[in-house]
């Protein structure tokens, strides 16, 4: 987060404690008071503060699709993985109160409209994580019954590979999502291999992505 802060002057702990006492008693005035207040202020933009709050209070929807749901439940519900460290442990069982949809498992074509309806019912801003090979690309289910990747019918923010992904992988995905919410997404391999500028983005001239 982008923060500007007046540097704290060099003074020892005892002096600062005394000054705090004086402040509470109302004995500080003039330049001393200005300094005291400036030391305790944070400056940032409203959007940044808002995003910071959003990223640290993600409410996942309590929604499992298949075997990946077991791993997702261990991530969200168990003290071993303790997603509370990243502020996303409060599960909501209604889409009206949730802002993160974790697609944990294969999406059958009969389930797709239901997921889309859940997604539409969630309030903005909302995010989607496609967890595992199946919801990212249908995995091994190249057949008539399974949607070939959940991004066919809703926008997906983070894809977590694996079959199923380990809990650490999902936590990593959630942390990636937090970066994205803050507006500073990590470009991953593109940065490592110097491949910036190869992203597939909408271009109005060509008419396709």
């Amino acid at each position: 987060m982008e923060v500007t802060r007046t540097p704290v002057g060099k003074s020892d702990m005892r002096v600062r404690q005394l000054r705090a006492q004086q402040m509470l008693r109302g004995e500080l005035a003039g330049k001393d008071l200005d300094e005291y207040v400036e030391e305790r202020l944070l400056f940032t933009r409203l959007e940044t503060a808002q995003n910071w709050a959003r990223k640290n209070a993600i409410f996942p929807l309590g929604f499992g699709l298949a075997c990946c749901a077991i791993e997702m439940i261990t991530v969200i519900g168990s003290p071993r993985n303790d997603l509370a460290r990243f502020g996303a442990e409060a599960i909501r069982f209604t889409p009206r109160q949730a802002d993160l949809l974790i697609l944990s498992g294969r999406v059958s074509i009969k389930m797709a409209p239901i997921i889309r309806r859940l997604y539409d019912q969630m309030l903005e801003p909302k995010w989607v994580i496609a967890m595992g090979a199946c919801s990212s690309s249908a995995g091994m289910f190249a057949n008539y019954a399974v949607v070939q990747g959940a991004d066919k019918f809703l926008p997906v923010d983070v894809y977590v590979p694996g079959c199923p992904p380990r809990p650490e992988a999902l936590i990593y995905g959630i942390m990636k999502l937090q970066d994205k919410i803050m507006g500073t997404p990590d470009m991953g391999w593109r940065e490592r291999y110097g491949a910036e500028g190869t992203e597939e983005v909408e271009s109005p001239e060509s008419g396709h992505a």
């Binding site: 074509i109 009969k110 249908a138 190249a142 008539y144 019954a145 597939e200």
Partner: protein
Amino acid sequence: MPDATGLELIAQGVRDAVGAEAITGTLFHREQATLEVAPASVYPVLRHLREAEEPWESLMSLHGCDYLPEEPRLGVHYQLLSMERCERLGVKTRLGVDDPHLDTVVDLFPTADYQEREVYDMFGVVFDGHPDLRRILMPEDYVGYPQRRDFPIGGEPVLFTFNEDKYPRWYE
């Protein structure tokens, strides 16, 4: 389990009760006794087996099958069990793929309800007299019977760098 002789006795009992044309053959393979039945006689044969002196009172499974190169193509298999005698008996029938019809056995075995719906859903066998014959697994507006062998398997080609130029405009 009925042995090969027992199977012939059962088959003869069915012939006596229902008619000689009902049984098209018997099959005793790997200790499993199976009656092959003409599709029109499935209902009377199962009713006879259900109400015989030594009855098979439960239907353990009802499922469809597609023997593609062979004719008639579709098969419907019934697996019967007598809990009392600990005996199993299979009943098989074969149907042509054009307009396959069978009589429902829901009134004999209530468990056949969902299983007949599944066979209808996956193979397109219509069970006449079924109380609620709808698709059970696929969406209601789905077209085709996906477990038939000539049904396209679906899915998408997996893209790697070596073959992505073979699928033009794959990104759409």
